[in-house]
Amino acid sequence: MKFVDEFRDAQLGRVVAGQILAAADPGRHYKVMEVCGGHTHSIYKYGIDDLLPEAVELVHGPGCPVCVIPMGRVDDGIAVARQEGVIFTCFGDMLRVPGSELTLLDAKAQGADVRMVYSPLDALRLARSNPRREVVFFAIGFETTAPSTALTLKRAKAEGVLNFSCICNHVTIVPPLRALLESPDLRLDGFIGPGHVCTVVGARPFEFIPVDYARPLVISGFEPLDILHSILMILRQLQEGRCEVENQYTRVVPREGNLRALEVMAEVFELRPHFEWRGLGFISQSALKLSAAYRDFDAELRFALPGVRVADPKACQCGEVLKGVIKPWECKVFGTACTPDHAIGTCMVSPEGACAAYYNYGRFAREKEAV
C-alpha cells in the first residue's frame, strides 16, 4: 500500500474499500473496465487496485486517444508535414507516436516544420500570422476534444483563413465499447464511465450498455475516492440485480451533456463509415470527418495522403492491452524493447496509456514480485 497514504481522505478510502468487500459476492470474480486513460493514470498513481478485494479486477479500456491512432495515420501526417511550405501542428503527445518508419519528432529533426501546439486555436493563429504557408492541424481525441477542433474550424471559416486545414482523427467512444462487448475474448461485469467525455455527450449515449448488454456503467470523477465510489456503485447494482447508467460525477457532469458542444460538433463533423483503431482493427461509424460545409478545410482533400494501411509491429500487443485482454507487463517487449523513451507501441507514449502508467509508477517491479 505504498501510494495509498498519498491521497486525500486515505481513511475514507479504506472505508469505501470495506464497503466494496461487503458488496462483492465472495464466490464471484468481477471484471470492471475503466474506459478512460485519465482513470487508468489515477488508478496506478494511487494504487487503487491494491485497495480492492481480490475478487474485483480492474481492466483498462481503449480511452486514450493517442494510443488508438493507427500507424498509417501517423505516416499520413508525416507525409503532409514533409511537403514544401507546410507548417504541421499537433499536440505534444503525438510527436513521439511511432509511424511505420519515423515519428513526427524524427521528421522534424530531418527538416520538416513540425510544431507542438497546446490548442487548435494556437494552430489557427499560426495560420493567420503565416499567410504564405499552409498550416495543418493533426486533430486527435474523443468527444472531450472534438468540440474544440469544431469551434476552431468555425472560426477559421468565419474569418476566411484559407491556409488552415485539419487532418481529422477524432474518434467516438461508444463504438469501441460496443465492439468490446461483442468480443468473445472478454467478459466484463461493469464499466467506469469517462467523466470528461460525459461532460460533452452526457449519459444517454451509454444507455445501450445496460439495455442491450445488461451491464452497469457509472460515470466517474478522477479523484481516487471517486473511482472507489464508482466501483462500489457498480457492485451494488450487481448485488441488487439492477443495471443502469448512474452518475457519480454529478458535480461536473450534467445528464444531458453540453448541448452547445454537441451542436457545434454536429455542424462541423460527420461520421466516417469506418475507421481503423490501433490494435482493434476497423470499427464502423467510430470516427469523425469534416462535413461537406467544411470540405475547404479538410487536409485529406487538400493534400495527397498515402493512406496506406500498416500492420502493427509483430512484437506489439497494444491491441490486447487496449481490449483489456492482457495486462501491460504481460506484453513481451514491455520495459525492455518498449519503454517511454523508445516506444514500440502507442500505449507507452502518452502518460494516459496503460503501459506508460504501469511503467512510470513502478508497478512493473511490484507485479513481477507478486507473481
Binding site: E6, F7, R8, C36, G37, G38, H41, S42, K45, C64, P65, V66, F91, G92, D93, M116, V117, Y118, S119, P120, L121, D122, R125, I140, G141, T144, T145, P147, S148, L151, R155, H196, T199, V200, F222, E223, R251, V252, P254, N258, L259, R260, A261, E263, V264, S350, P351, E352, N360
Partner: protein, 93 residues
C-alpha cells in the same frame, strides 16, 4: 493532452470571439469560452471557475471542486507539469 485543468476567470476580453483571461495556478492565459455560451451556465464572469481542456472551457465547476481537482493534478507530477508547460506556450487570440 487528456487533462482538464481548473482555472479562474479574470476577465472577459473579447465577447465577439468569446475569449476570456484565466489564471491557472499563477499562469495567466487566454482561453475560449464559446462552448459555455448557450445553456451550461450562460457565459462566464470574472471569478468563475472553469475546467479547461486544450484551450477551451469545457464546463463550469464550483470553487471547492476546482481546488480538489487542482490538488489531485499537482500530485500527478510529470503529466501535470507537462500540461502547464504546454499551456505556457499558448497564445490564444
Amino acid at each position: 493532452m487528456c487533462l482538464a485543468i481548473p482555472g479562474q476567470v479574470i476577465e472577459v476580453l473579447d465577447t465577439a470571439n468569446q475569449i476570456a483571461r484565466v489564471d491557472v495556478v499563477g499562469v495567466r492565459r487566454s482561453i475560449n469560452v464559446g462552448l459555455l455560451s448557450d445553456g451550461n451556465g450562460g457565459g462566464v464572469e470574472p471569478g468563475d471557475w472553469v475546467l479547461i481542456h486544450v484551450g477551451f472551457a469545457l464546463s463550469k465547476v464550483d470553487e471547492q471542486e476546482a481546488h480538489a481537482t487542482l490538488s489531485l493534478l499537482q500530485r500527478m507530477g510529470a503529466a501535470y507539469e507537462q500540461e502547464l508547460e504546454e499551456l505556457r506556450t499558448s497564445v490564444i487570440e
